[in-house]
Symmetry: C2
């Protein structure tokens, strides 16, 4: 469909950002990935070819493709190509077990999966025989043959048919645990991405002179928010396949990196490597005194968010949308284009000061989980999207985040849902009951601890439980500590009393934002 | 229609901003107008009552109302009430002649006209008898009877039915000369207003702590841009009916005004009045040294726009949308959610460096002029809105504004179109030919000068020409100087050679932005 009616003049989607940059910032550097440096005009040419290559492989409006690899400029190229086509990209978590990976692919049902051999090829190879039975294409992005990414580009033409793509349709899909332990892909629209980019750009002081180091995993919305902000502002995105302190030092210096998503331990390594202070890191760390620096966001001193870190958000809202730099106390106030209510189970607003479920309305809200109509319906029936998170209104009208309706463990960057780990351990025949909690961890915020009740006659040690989990679920979700107990404390309704387990077995340090 | 489908969850219109402020900033001051100070929650209550009062008078989705008065908090109240209803408000220029006023009302065909008696009541009273023949309601906003504004509010209930209103529909209408000298109302959508507010907020460093002095006329988009930005950010709008230096001094001090739209001569008067420096004006003028201050925008030193004033925009794009603070040279680069092309008459992009017509696409583009389908169609047939302005691309991809396709005169805040003044003078039987030009004016940028050719036997002096215009068109459009000539220089195609008239009769100083 061509745009040829007056109302369509007011359309603008994610790909239109690239089209405009290609005219108004043709020779500015858009993308740096290893030795490859692309200007905005060059990026637009490559994206035209990728889009044409995808079309020739049958990808059309509404279709889905998946990326299972580490960070790469190609994730952005594929996303922009999808934006031009009206298709959808899911950059999937490669830190999953082979059965989990098979499940992610099966659920999202992509026409093409872009996979990576180096370091993370196992999840592909183990499942290879299964794939053959499906009508699904596999493209290795780090190979050189006919089935590889560069061959797909070469098959496409540098021509932009400027197909009409509605900015309210989904473009990006990000798997989240969706609070019940079963991974679901939250579908995010062009508008959600663009509006979050504007919000993040102001909060993080991102403009066309910014250089954003894509150093966190690109399947996390917290990383993408800043990267998209840099792209929309006409700045530079610098991609690293994996976090390596020595390479980061080189990049910060050479690309004048101004913004990054860097876990604290990585910055410690960088500083140790350059203890002599010979590298020019002033674009990212004007002073080497990191005392007042709050990982993982490295942003300029004059960025509003630097001084007001409180925030609330979730993948389903395209990231942080209630922000302390916008004012108020706790998590702060909602950004523009968003309404927030705190609701009780019946959908009525709770009185100020009382805890209610955070509900949202506005273009930042996801277009639902892929293939989960019943859940989507239940979470949005009255026109307000239920976040499954709890909040409270402060006396000044701003919001505080109370916690997830279901408890979550935060280890490093990862969200871990006890329900999922418990289900894994419960599958062991020796186990009669289990409760998984988070215990405080100096380095990673929390570690996973399982409190296990064995059947009368069973014998099972800590090592056996951990090894079982290591093979069944993502390694980072496995318990680090296993304790055994004769029984678990229970509430009058029969449910496990998680607060009592926390109190009795050293739990704590659960994520609180705001 | 109620929002009850999942996609509608992603809707957000201008009134939703107020709904959210009422929850998240309930006790912050939204509006100051004389002795009346309203918090956001109080403003939301009043707007609910205004909306209900309008509904009870028959205003529904798609209907239009008009404001013909000086600045007032009620303009914003009416606009927000229209946003809740799905109706449209036109704040009309009250500096027009009675026949022009009759024409504006006739063309926009509002269900209700809100008029003001003090100072500007003449344009109503002169036409009063004509109005009676129409099915149109008249509400005096500065009276106290049953047909007055406060009575309308009292007739409404503080209840918000939260009717669904599409953010892509028009909300605000602003009359512009539309480049052919005939006033047309540019219809601007919720989205255009909201996105411009975000852009202006960043450029002018507006946030919830800002206090914006609405000191320019509220029928000008350049004034509204900043006011809307302050409202959307949750800041304070301070309204003044007319510009009075003594009152402005009081307000700046009392309301900690941080932003204002102030013509240079007004600031001069303020400084003269407080030559002793006894007033605390530090919120607006941290230093009294006005050397580096660029009227009419008074914005903080740390605002990006303060240091890069270049810009291009027009009412039909909801104000300035190409901005030097976004980068580049000349007028700068387009903001987010906007594509700009430079086109030749056939609709092809002109080569870089050559002059072409500026064409735009994105949600900032107006929803067309009201009741001008043929013009709208001609200006947008291929999906790109033609601005009727000329631009050129700089080597770095940014844009320079070359000038209007039709020459315009800028006197103070007002755009004056020679074609309109010429038509007025040409109506005199003594006149055989006329060319209206702008001559440089130290105080107001330009003054209007008419070069008149009389019929052979006619006798007419400067005073007669000026007096004729004073009564036929808005006073500010009348020529300040009239010169008489035996003939006008002409181009080979028979048109008046405006450049030659400029050169021969002292023309110059035409507005150039960027």
């Amino acid at each position: 469909m061509r745009i040829d009616q007056f109302p369509a003049i007011r359309q603008f989607n994610f790909a239109d950002t690239l089209r405009e940059h290609s005219r108004s910032r043709p020779n500015m550097i858009a993308s740096v990935d290893g030795p490859e440096r692309l200007t905005y005009r060059q990026l637009d040419c490559r994206v035209n070819k990728v889009a044409d290559g995808l079309r020739k492989r049958g990808v059309g409006p509404g279709d889905r493709i998946m990326w299972v690899g580490q960070n790469s400029a190609r994730v952005m190229e594929l996303l922009l190509a999808c934006a031009k086509i009206g298709a959808q990209l899911c950059p999937a978590n490669w830190r999953v077990s082979p059965p989990e990976f098979a499940d992610l692919v099966h659920r999202f049902d992509p026409k093409i999966v872009f996979w990576q051999d180096i370091e993370v090829g196992d999840i592909y190879h183990v499942n290879k025989e299964t794939w053959k039975t499906h009508d699904r294409q596999w493209v290795q992005h780090d190979g050189t043959g006919a089935d590889c990414y560069e061959a797909l580009i070469e098959s496409g033409e540098d021509h932009d048919p400027e197909t009409f793509v509605d900015a309210d349709t989904p473009l990006l899909a990000i798997y989240t645990a969706a609070f019940d332990g079963a991974a679901k892909a939250a579908q995010l629209s062009h508008n959600a991405i663009l509006l979050q980019a504007l919000l993040s750009a102001r909060g993080q002081a991102i403009d066309e002179t910014s250089s954003y180091l894509m150093s966190g995993p690109m399947f996390h919305v917290g990383v993408l928010m800043g990267g998209f902000a840099a792209f929309v502002a006409g700045g530079r995105c610098v991609y690293v396949r994996r976090v390596d302190a020595a390479e980061l030092l080189d990049l910060v210096e050479r690309e004048h990196v101004s913004h990054a998503y860097l876990p604290g331990p990585v910055v410690d390594q960088m500083m140790k490597l350059d203890a002599a202070g010979k590298r020019d890191l002033s674009s990212l760390f004007p002073s080497r005194d990191l005392k007042d620096w709050a990982p993982p966001l490295a942003i300029p001193e004059h960025a509003p968010m630097r001084h007001h870190m409180g925030q609330y958000g979730q993948t389903e809202l395209m990231g942080s949308v209630v922000l302390a730099w916008l004012g108020g106390s706790g998590a702060g106030r909602p950004g523009p284009f968003l309404q927030i209510r705190l609701l009780d189970e019946a959908g009525r607003e709770v009185p100020d000061g009382e805890t209610g479920e955070i509900a949202a309305r506005g273009p930042l809200v996801m277009n639902g989980y892929y293939g989960a109509d019943a859940v989507n319906q239940a979470r949005s029936a009255d026109g307000w999207y239920r976040t499954n998170d709890l909040g409270r209104r402060n006396p000044d009208g701003s919001l505080s985040f109370v916690g997830p309706k279901a408890t979550m463990i935060k280890s490093g960057l990862e969200n871990i849902y006890p329900a999922e780990v418990e289900a894994c351990i419960r599958a062991l025949p020796e186990v009669s009951d289990v409760c998984v909690i988070g215990v405080p961890d100096e380095r990673w915020a929390q570690s996973v601890k399982a409190v296990v009740v064995l059947n009368d006659t069973a014998a099972l040690d800590e090592h056996a439980v951990i090894e079982h989990c290591r093979h069944a679920i993502a390694s980072y979700k496995k318990p680090k500590i296993v304790a055994f107990a004769p029984a678990l404390p229970r509430l009058p309704n029969g449910f496990v009393d998680r607060a009592a387990v926390d109190a009795g077995w050293g739990g704590g340090g659960y994520p609180k934002v705001g």
